[in-house]
Symmetry: C2
Subunit: 121 residues, 2 copies
Amino acid sequence: MPYQPIKLDEKLARFSQHWSPRVVAEMNDYQFKLVKLAGEFVWHAHADTDEEFIVLQGAMRIEFRDGEVALRAGEMFVVPKGVEHRPCAEEECSVMLVEPRGVINTGEAGGAYTAANDVWV
Amino acid sequence: MPYQPIKLDEKLARFSQHWSPRVVAEMNDYQFKLVKLAGEFVWHAHADTDEEFIVLQGAMRIEFRDGEVALRAGEMFVVPKGVEHRPCAEEECSVMLVEPRGVINTGEAGGAYTAANDVWV
């Protein structure tokens, strides 16, 4: 049969690099990406799109210029487009991102954390 | 602080009706919906959009005219647009759907299972 489930645990086991999103599925022109976080990311924004975080394992927080949100496994948050944010995780945290194909992880901030885009796992 | 996590377990605890998607978040013109499945749904298709299923609790299968896919918690599948499918669950199963705002649960099939759209929880 051509119909196979996408098993998130199996996909997560295939990579260890932090801050490097891996695509697991596409829906129309959107992508579902897995990413492992640890430490503090760079401040950035996505001018043209909202960005959705679902925590799969562990805990993280998203800092904003005027506050923050703490997220654990089974919790989600949508960062509105244009809003500066900084994802952080005290310990390794696995997250599913949903966003349009082509979104760069560091938005318009660039820098050393900028990951290759459209890498599948 | 205006920043609050969306807690999926809490949202699921707020409704019990089967086959009645509840919106928990929006990202651009897409919606994240929770739905509880039990039994067999109607055959239907969505002519204009893919439809994404992530199983949160329990197990389900999606039948196609030429096969099926079995999904458990932590697994996902994207039904391509235009493809006839029938979601089924032997026992209650909780799922997150991601699809464009405005998608009707029964596609163009209509019938008794057609749920009100854009109902938030």
